[in-house]
């Protein structure tokens, strides 16, 4: 069931939320850097979730502001 894929352990959540996409939110240059931050976030998501389709960020990245 796809909904079950939405669960992440605390350690997995911490790994994902520790990327620059979250860590640098108060950085004055965040908006101009968000594309690279999102790429790091997507890579970490893929690693943590072992490429689970629920967590496939490809369509999400396609909509990131440039």
């Amino acid at each position: 069931m796809e909904a079950e894929a939405g669960f992440l352990s605390l350690a997995e959540s911490m790994a994902v939320m520790s990327t620059a996409r979250h860590r640098e939110r108060l950085n004055g240059h965040y908006v101009s850097s968000v594309t690279s931050y999102s790429q790091q976030f997507a890579a970490k998501i893929k690693e943590v979730t072992q490429n689970n389709p629920f967590w496939d960020p490809a369509p999400y990245l396609a909509r990131e502001p440039r």
């Binding site: 894929a5 350690a11 629920f54 967590w55 999400y60």
Partner: protein, 48 residues
């Protein structure tokens, strides 16, 4: 140390983190849940 209630059941949660490492957590199997697949986050970012 972080103490907060579970947003699902209201039970107390406690997490001790030091230098990016989880030292202790109670209960032992704390988890997070996202019900929207990441591919749909951009459709409603405030709720993603």
């Amino acid at each position: 140390m972080i103490e907060a209630p579970c947003l699902d059941c209201g039970d107390p949660l406690r997490v001790v983190v030091r230098e990016g490492v989880i030292e202790d957590q109670d209960p032992s199997r704390i988890c997070t849940y996202v019900d929207i697949p990441i591919r749909d986050w951009s459709r409603n970012l405030p709720r993603a």
